[in-house]
């Protein structure tokens, strides 16, 4: 206990090392599901919970450093824990605690990777994410970053027997590495000629505005690839459905946030003074990503793919807020910069809980029905009440409805956008409130997506006869889901306390603060004066009291007689489950309204068809217009270089000789 209090950094390192050990312990009895699932995963969850507590208590502690003498000679790993690291460690610990408990009940005997190996990959993934958040030099950061990418790649390809899953894994690995190269180059620019790759040296390096901008754009590209910004989002809808559900939850809920951490670290901490046009770039990309993601989410028919696209949307919203914070910071509007930055951190925290909850929920559905296709689900609220009611909390949060957590961060972001008209540049302050319009559109569409997601899976009649045999989640899975749902509810009900905690982070990292010092404990009042206020708790109590009062009043004054009968069939007596609106049907208005977004393939029946069929498939235009030409270009260049490849040893020796001579000529 003393170690926890004296040095949170040491405590965090110990916990990360423990995760590594738990992973290794999985190799002892790799095929025993009981040992791995009932012992190791709950232990990992416990580590996560302790990590969350340590990180939370150390939020306002001063930064501390450590040096680990591991790795290459003369290249020790510098580590540092400050408020920003603590916040994201809290996110990692608290979300992974729920996911690990769920995972303990989730993994069954399958055809893919054995349980013990999976346990190693899983806990290595967790530990490497922790190290990413603690790294204080480029070397340590890149090692942790790559470990994270590789361990998650192996997790994605757990079912490596399937061709499509290998393909998804490859795409993920490819884009992860394109991004990693950009990040490496960004670090290379940021050392500013000192050839010192510690973050401290980068903080003190004096970059010209041009080089600082180059570093920022490289970092935005690199971290954007990991976060899934359009047009680097293509791996997300492939990799998330391919991975086992707890891994999808971890990737979407936590790993995407390490990219947010990275971009915040680089732009506010390492580069110091951002320029306002960086912010405009981030806002534009972010808003486009948000709308693009949610429109595609609405058109999906695979439940995990739908959630993956929704993650693209949320990442877009986070980056839009980040851009807004950059703009405010650049023009020296401290209060609004703090507001936007708090909205970003809040949304990151919210998304990690609500998206993990929903991914775990789909995992439970997948296990009990074996279906990912929305067209073969339905009515599961009757067979799986636990999963259904807990998923309802996640769906309502993700739809951004009060009094749950998704609403609070969107509220903060809208406030920031709304008061952006005080920015001194006329052009910018004309444009920024337009951003509020797009955020509002994305939020409203998210509600549509969530009604589709929830309604088609859990409500209505079962679309397949086998669904009536579906069973609810087991005890461990339920505990995990309840934990994540509690996170959503808590973050929604006490926004003032959460914002208070985030303020310390924002103060330490970006040296900005909200301009409103005092408000009652139950009231969130981020702007000076009476401009705006919100209280999740009182709001919840008011609505619940009113609902309870109505129920009570109706019971008191009127009888409670109920007759049960079959549904009204409009006189057409053969109503069946296939006449319900399908996932495709729910996508129809979206395909209709946002037609230019989609590459659509429609097969319409003619009037004379004997077996009329209607088929529609939608593709991503960015994939067709950008990636396919790029892929063929790479192929052509590679073919051109293949001429060099002769297969004769003498030719290769000649190449070496010519290279050597050429180099000597340059050097001498």
């Amino acid at each position: 206990m003393t170690i926890l209090l004296h040095s949170p950094l040491d405590a965090c390192l110990t916990l990360l090392a423990l995760w590594g050990l738990i992973g290794l312990a999985g190799l002892l009895r790799p095929t025993s599901l009981k040992y791995v699932g009932r012992t190791l995963f709950p232990l990992g969850a416990l580590c996560g919970a302790v990590l969350a507590v340590v990180a939370f208590t150390s939020l306002s502690a001063p930064p501390e450093r450590a040096v680990l003498i591991v790795g290459l000679p003369d290249l020790p790993m510098h580590l540092r824990r400050d408020a920003l690291s603590s916040l994201f460690l809290f996110l990692l610990g608290s979300a992974s605690a729920g996911i690990s408990v769920f995972a303990a009940g989730y993994f069954r005997r399958g055809h893919g990777t054995s349980a013990g190996l999976l346990c190693l990959q899983y806990h290595l993934f967790l530990a490497s994410m922790g190290f990413v958040l603690l790294a204080d030099d480029a070397y340590a950061f890149m090692v942790a970053w790559e470990t994270m990418a590789l361990s998650s790649y192996f997790l994605v390809t757990t079912q490596h027997g399937l061709e499509e899953i290998r393909r998804a894994g490859f795409l993920y690995l490819l884009i992860a590495h394109v991004g990693a190269i950009a990040i490496l180059l960004a670090f290379g620019v940021m050392q500013g000629g000192s050839w010192q790759f510690t973050f401290d040296a980068m903080r003190h390096a004096h970059l010209t505005p041009v080089w600082a901008s180059v570093a920022f754009l490289l970092a935005l590209f690199g971290f954007g690839a990991k976060a899934g910004l359009v047009p680097l989002h293509v791996w997300l809808p492939e990799a998330h459905p391919a991975a086992p559900s707890p891994v999808s939850a971890l990737m979407s809920g936590v790993m995407l946030k390490t990219a947010v951490y990275g971009v915040l670290r680089v732009s506010f901490d390492l580069l110091g003074g951002p320029e306002s046009w960086w912010g405009l770039v981030a806002i534009t990309v972010g808003l486009f990503t948000a709308v693009y993601g949610v429109v595609f989410a609405a058109a999906q028919t695979d439940m995990k793919r739908l959630l993956a696209w929704s993650s693209v949307e949320n990442v877009g919203i986070i980056f839009a807020g980040f851009g807004l914070a950059l703009v405010f910071h650049a023009v020296g509007m401290s209060g609004l910069a703090a507001l936007a930055l708090i909205a970003v951190l809040y949304h990151a925290l919210n998304h990690s809980f609500m998206k993990s909850l929903l991914f775990c929920g789909t995992g439970a559905v997948l296990h009990s029905t074996g279906e990912r296709n929305l067209g073969r689900l339905g009515g599961l609220i009757r067979q799986m009440p636990w999963v259904a009611w807990l998923s309802l909390i996640g769906a309502l949060s993700l739809a951004g409805l009060p009094p749950l957590n998704g609403f609070v961060s969107e509220w903060l972001l809208l406030q920031a956008f709304l008061f952006a008209h005080q920015v001194p540049q006329t052009f910018v302050n004309m444009l920024l409130p337009m951003g509020a319009a797009l955020v509002a559109l994305a939020a409203a569409l998210a509600a549509y997506v969530m009604v589709k997601f929830y309604g088609v899976i859990f409500l209505g009649q079962p679309r397949e006869a086998t669904l009536v045999r579906a069973h609810d989640a087991n005890v461990l899975e339920r505990i995990g889901l309840v934990w994540l749902a509690l996170g959503c509810v808590t973050l929604g009900l006490v926004p003032a306390q959460v914002v208070g905690a985030l303020r310390t982070v924002v103060r330490q990292v970006a040296h900005v603060d909200l301009s409103n010092p005092t408000a009652p404990w139950w009231l969130l009042q981020p702007m000076p004066g009476r401009q705006a206020s919100y209280s999740g708790l009182v709001f919840f109590v008011a609505v619940t009291a009113m609902v309870a009062l109505t129920i009570f009043g109706v019971r008191l004054f009127y009888h409670q007689r109920v007759r049960h009968s079959s549904p009204w069939d409009c006189g057409f007596a053969r109503l069946d489950a296939r006449m319900q609106d399908s996932a495709e049907g729910f996508g129809q208005p979206i395909r209709h309204i946002f037609e230019p977004f989609f590459a659509m393939n429609r097969e319409l029946p003619s009037a004379f068809d004997h077996a009329p069929r209607y088929r529609v498939s939608i593709g991503d235009r960015i994939w067709q217009r950008l990636y396919e030409p790029l892929g063929s270009l790479v192929q052509r260049v590679a073919d051109a270089f293949a001429v060099l490849q002769q297969g004769r040893i003498a030719t290769y020796l000649l190449y070496s000789f010519v290279t050597l001579v050429a180099l000597l000529a340059i050097v001498l």
Binding site: I381, R382, L396, A399, G400, P402, F407, L414, F419, M430, P433, M434, A436, A437, A440, A443, A444, L445, A447, Y448, V451, K452, G455, G460, Q461, L523, R530, Q531, A532, S533, Y534, V538, F539, A542, V543, M546, V547, T550, I551, V554, F557, Y558, H559, R561, V562, R563, H564, S565, S566, P567, W568, C570, A577, Q580, D581, G585, F586, P589, H592, I593
Partner: protein, 316 residues
């Protein structure tokens, strides 16, 4: 909390609950006059609600708890929403915990619960109605938010009472930005409350229904609550319109408590005029095809954005 605040708050809730069906009755009566029909009694909506409460509820065999909970949630949300909108006085304690954005969120919550309940039974028309309701919703909600944003930008706050006070105490003048947003708001009001031209409140032809289709499976007390909630929603939207565009006559902070009593007839007059205008609008226009509804709402959204641009360009 001062006594006047509690009195204002309770008065708002009670007046909304009591007057919402009357407002619907009034619109129906005006419409009947304009269409040369003999008008039903203005009290008909009350009788309808009373009758429904006394009936036996018939519930589909496969209904889940969500289906039975939804009417209460929708109704409760609409009542609380009525408590947030300053229709008579601005001294409302509830507006401190929920500003205009939270109000839009609350209305969205009600809509989502109604759509989910409609999907619960799994009939063809219920799910169709849910989908269309959400389609109208996701287009109307951003437009409504933009309307509110313009008013917020003019008065530098998102708290509805502060907006109303600011606009009510201004020198009487024409805000071009508010003129654009008023048009946008009217369109949103028509769409969100299932009025012509987006939906027809009088239709019972299943294929064209939006709002009614979501209620197809409800009966007795559940239907009564849903109907009452729909009336409250219309009342609330009218009051949002009054608060943003004709805020005069509302008892503001600093006015004498008696002013609250004077604001009741003012609200009644506003509602009477608004109801008559709605009836005229519904009489002279025809219902659009469902596919045209997105265009109608996109126009509303554009009008609101235009209002925002005008405000930012001209600073008025």
């Amino acid at each position: 909390m001062k006594p006047i605040e509690i009195i204002t708050q309770l008065l708002e809730l009670i007046v909304a609950l009591a007057a919402a069906p009357l407002f619907v009755g009034w619109i129906n009566q005006c419409r009947a006059w304009l269409q040369n029909r003999s008008a039903p009694s203005i009290w008909l909506p009350y009788r309808g609600i009373r009758k429904l409460f006394h009936k036996d509820a018939v519930i589909a065999t496969n209904a889940s708890r969500l289906f039975r909970l939804a009417p209460y949630v929708v109704f409760g949300a609409m009542v609380i929403a009525a408590g947030i909108i300053p229709s008579m006085g601005t001294r409302l304690p509830l507006t401190q915990v929920a500003d205009a954005i939270a109000l839009v969120g609350l209305l969205a919550t009600a809509r989502v619960f109604m759509s989910l309940a409609a999907m619960d039974i799994g009939t063809a028309f219920g799910t169709l109605g849910a989908r269309r309701e959400m389609m109208v919703g996701f287009l109307a909600e951003p437009a409504l938010l933009m309307v509110i944003f313009v008013a917020s930008l003019i008065s530098a706050t998102t708290a509805l009472p502060a907006i109303t006070e600011h606009l009510a105490t201004q020198r009487l003048g024409l805000y071009p930005s508010l003129a654009f947003t008023a048009v946008a708001f009217l369109m949103v009001l028509l769409a969100e409350n299932a009025r012509i031209p987006v939906d027809n409140p009088a239709t019972h032809l299943e294929l064209t229904m939006i709002h009614e289709a979501t209620l197809l499976e409800y009966s007795a007390r559940h239907l009564a609550l849903m109907d009452w909630a729909a009336a409250l929603k219309l009342f609330n939207y009218a009051c949002i319109g009054f608060a943003l565009f004709i805020p005069w006559g509302v008892s503001t902070r600093g006015s004498a408590p008696v002013a609250l009593l004077a604001s009741i007839p003012v609200l009644a007059a506003k509602l009477a005029v608004a109801g008559a205008l709605l009836a005229v609008l519904e009489t002279v226009s025809a219902k659009l095809r469902v596919f045209r509804a997105p265009e109608f709402l996109a126009t509303a959204f554009l009008f609101a954005v235009l209002g925002l641009l005008v405000h930012l360009l001209l600073r008025v």
